[in-house]
């Protein structure tokens, strides 16, 4: 039989056959001739015109019967006609589809077979129709074996896929069948010797002129070498990323314009910032990060960056940056440009190292130095006391020894009045020498109080307490500070006031040596009373019977005391135009208070 390849000829022929069928029906008054027309239309024009013809067969048949006046047979004849026409249409529709697919695959078969890689085709519903020889060889099956397996299970091919990849591949294929989207899949495919290699599977649907999917055609390419290279690359990249993220330093990248666009994990975790989008910076990010810089350092850092971005010079700076917990920490930052062959800057590399602990250690060292300096200033008073003691010791020793000798000369038998008289003269001389020492010391304090600057007494108190914190701790003394925060500064010699307060605090601590540890409480108050600033130091010691006398030189309640401290305190306070006083009673502790004028009358 001749092949009719032109669709136009085919169509015209079909129209001719259909008309012939209708003419035949009219001439014979037999509607069954219409079935030829229905078949011709269904076969040549597709299923929609076919269905229309089938439906039209009823009225047309009725027309034929009416023309020939055979309406008596109509119900029977027309029923047979319509059912038969519908049957013809259905058969044509089914076979037309099947033969179309068959034709499609047949025509594609040659191309697939010639593919250098693995090739396959499938029905629109995903039923695999064909594997090319390379594909069959790969899995080690004959076409028949494959055919058999395929008929049992549409997805039998997935048994040739690595178990870890099979389900994903099947799902992708199903997805593509459902939606008509091309399929891209990468999976390990089993060789007949049992080894797996990576293949990339790409399947596209074939469509007819109406856009209907007529089948799927897939090519499967061995990408194992490529895949391994890629994996090695990924591995190296991961390693590199891991290294960048784990080196104990913060790394960041900036565009040539200075917009930050990458921060390593350390930096991200440290500062609690976004990792950046890793491709380009944006100005909003820059502003966010600028706000992390300590306000005091911001201008310096901005200037340093601007300088480097302008000149292309590497950048070194130290500044404080806010950590995610809100604490500002010192960082040592270095930023260097990366240049291309022409010398143009491609990006900036930055490194931040947290040096806060070192900075703080240095700071602590400096503070310790300062404390030491202050302590030695405090020591100077005790050292002064030693030299005072030494100076006073001799005249006192002389007075004591002379007085004893005096007594013995008089008590001798017979009394030696002559020697006693000489000794008495010496007693007077030496006692005067001792008094002279005291006068000199007090004059010393009155003179050196010339250096008057505003002094924050609260600050002095806290510093003194820090100075004696060891003594407080070792003496189990509980410190209570009640400082008036609004206390104005007083014009004073700071060092001298420090010594007064230190003296009072020390006295308080020492006074409580013999009271139970639970009762050892030292209270320090500061307050403003009129035009005076008043400081009070209160202990819970045994108290003193004659509180007025404690400011006298040589009056002491301590076993090894000189009785000089409070006397000097009084000299200092009086040199500052202030007053000092004490309240005490045995068993009730002692309170020493001094007040200084906020403004000097003659200064």
């Amino acid at each position: 039989m001749m092949e009719i390849t032109s669709s136009l000829v085919r169509r015209n022929l079909a129209i001719a056959i259909a008309l012939l069928g209708m003419v035949l029906a009219l001439l014979t008054a037999e509607p069954s001739g219409l079935m030829v027309s229905v078949a011709a239309i269904a076969i040549c024009f597709g299923w929609k015109p076919g269905l229309a013809a089938t439906l039209a067969a009823g009225p047309l048949g009725y027309g034929v019967l009416a023309v020939r006046d055979r309406l008596a047979d109509a119900p029977m004849e027309l029923t047979v006609l319509v059912v038969a026409a519908f049957g013809i249409w259905l058969l044509v529709w089914i076979f037309r589809t099947a033969s179309f697919h068959e034709r499609v695959h047949q025509s594609a078969r040659q191309i697939i077979e010639d593919l250098p890689g693995l090739g396959w085709s499938a029905d629109p519903n995903g039923h695999i129709r064909f594997f090319n020889p390379a594909g069959l060889e790969r899995v080690g099956m004959t076409a028949e074996e494959m055919q058999k397996q395929m008929e049992e299970d549409d997805y039998a091919w997935r048994h040739t896929i690595h178990p870890e990849d099979a389900e994903r591949s099947a799902e992708r294929f199903r997805h593509s069948i459902r939606t008509g989207e091309p399929m891209h899949d990468e999976a390990r495919v089993r060789h007949h010797d049992g080894t797996y290699r990576w293949f990339r599977d790409i399947a596209v649907p074939a469509r007819d002129e109406t856009g209907r999917i007529t089948g799927w055609f897939g090519t499967t390419v061995d990408i194992d070498d490529q895949k391994r290279a890629e994996e090695a690359l990924h591995h190296r990249e991961r390693e590199l990323r891991l290294m960048v993220d784990t080196v104990p330093t913060m790394i960041f990248l900036m565009t040539p314009q200075g917009l930050p666009y990458y921060f390593n994990k350390r930096f991200v975790d440290w500062a609690g910032i976004d990792p950046g989008d890793e491709t380009q910076g944006n100005a909003a990010d820059l502003n966010t990060h600028a706000e992390l810089i300590h306000p005091d350092d911001r201008n310096d850092v901005a200037a340093a960056f601007a300088r480097s971005f302008g000149s292309g010079e590497p950048l070194f700076y130290k500044g404080r940056l806010k950590r995610r917990d809100g604490q500002y920490r010192w960082l040592d930052s270095r930023v260097e440009p990366l240049r291309d062959d022409s010398g143009a800057i491609i990006r900036w590399y930055g490194v931040n190292i947290d040096i806060d602990d070192e900075v703080r250690a240095q700071e602590a060292l400096r503070l310790a130095d300062e404390r030491l300096a202050r302590a030695s200033r405090a020591a100077s008073l005790s050292e002064l006391s030693v030299s005072i003691a030494h100076e006073l010791n001799s005249p006192l020793q002389a007075v004591v020894a002379n007085a004893n000798a005096f007594q013995r000369w008089l008590g001798a038998t017979p009394p030696n009045y002559e020697r006693a008289g000489r000794t008495a003269e010496r007693i007077i001389r030496d006692a005067n020498a001792a008094a002279e020492v005291i006068t000199r010391i007090r004059a010393l304090f009155a003179q050196t109080g010339q250096d008057r600057n505003p002094v924050d007494l609260n600050l002095v108190i806290t510093e003194v307490c820090e100075l004696v914190s060891d003594k407080l701790t070792s003496g189990n003394v509980r410190l209570e500070l009640e400082l008036d925060a609004a206390l104005p500064a007083v014009p004073a010699d700071r060092v001298q006031l420090e010594q007064v307060i230190l003296n009072l605090v020390r006295n308080g601590i020492e006074a409580m040596t013999d009271v139970p540890a639970s009762a050892r409480r030292l209270r320090i108050l500061s307050r403003r009373t009129g035009g005076m600033a008043e400081i009070e130091v209160e202990d819970q010691g045994p108290g003193i019977a004659d509180a007025e006398r404690i400011f006298d030189a040589f009056y002491t309640t301590k076993r090894d005391g000189m009785g000089m401290g409070l006397s000097i305190c009084r000299s200092i306070v009086e040199a500052h135009e202030g007053r000092i006083g004490a309240r005490s009673a045995p068993g009730e502790g002692t309170s020493v208070a001094f007040s200084l004028p906020l403004q000097l009358a003659n200064g």
């Binding site: 030494h390 010791n393 001799s394 020793q397 004591v400 002379n402 000369w409 020697r419 000794t423």
Partner: protein, 216 residues
Amino acid sequence: MAVALAERREDPVAVLVDDDRAVREALGDLLNSVGVDTVSFASSSEFLTAELPDRPGCLVLDVRMPGLSGLDLQRHLAEQGITTPIVFLTGHGDIAMSVQAMKSGAVDFLTKPVRDQSFLDAVSRAIAADVTQRDAARETQKNVDLYDSLTPRERQVLRYVVKGLLNKQIAYELEISEVTVKLHRSSMMRKMHAGSAAGLFGAWQSLPAEIRMDDA
């Protein structure tokens, strides 16, 4: 005053070294009032260059003085073999200093201002120690002089006697007759002013070690 002191050879004398005149005078006065003579110096060097009376006594030294300190002076005197007892006075008691001073043989270490009784007690203890020491030294010197008057043979006999050897054994050791040993022995006992073997032994014990060890 030195002349007056020289007249009373066995009366004790306390030597005060203190840079403070008031203290020197007062302590001197105090000691005088209990009948102890005193000699005072304002510094260690003044003390070292002075001619001191040969009388029992003690040194009262101030620890802190310009120039040679009291402790330095103690060391210096010890090197010279001078064993006069020392009482230290210091303005500020220092345990380390006092330990060192006491180890070096100080009688006492007192802190100024010192109570009169403590001071007087310390000084009289020191003087007593010096008296004993001087008596012992004088006894030793006497015995050394007696020993020096012995002939070599008498010295040999003396050594054997104090070792507890009998005349017969001594005669054997010296390879002389027992009669000759007896002659040497009685002569030696007489020269050593020893009435008995026990007395001889006491005198022997008081002799300086270098003599007793000398086997010549």
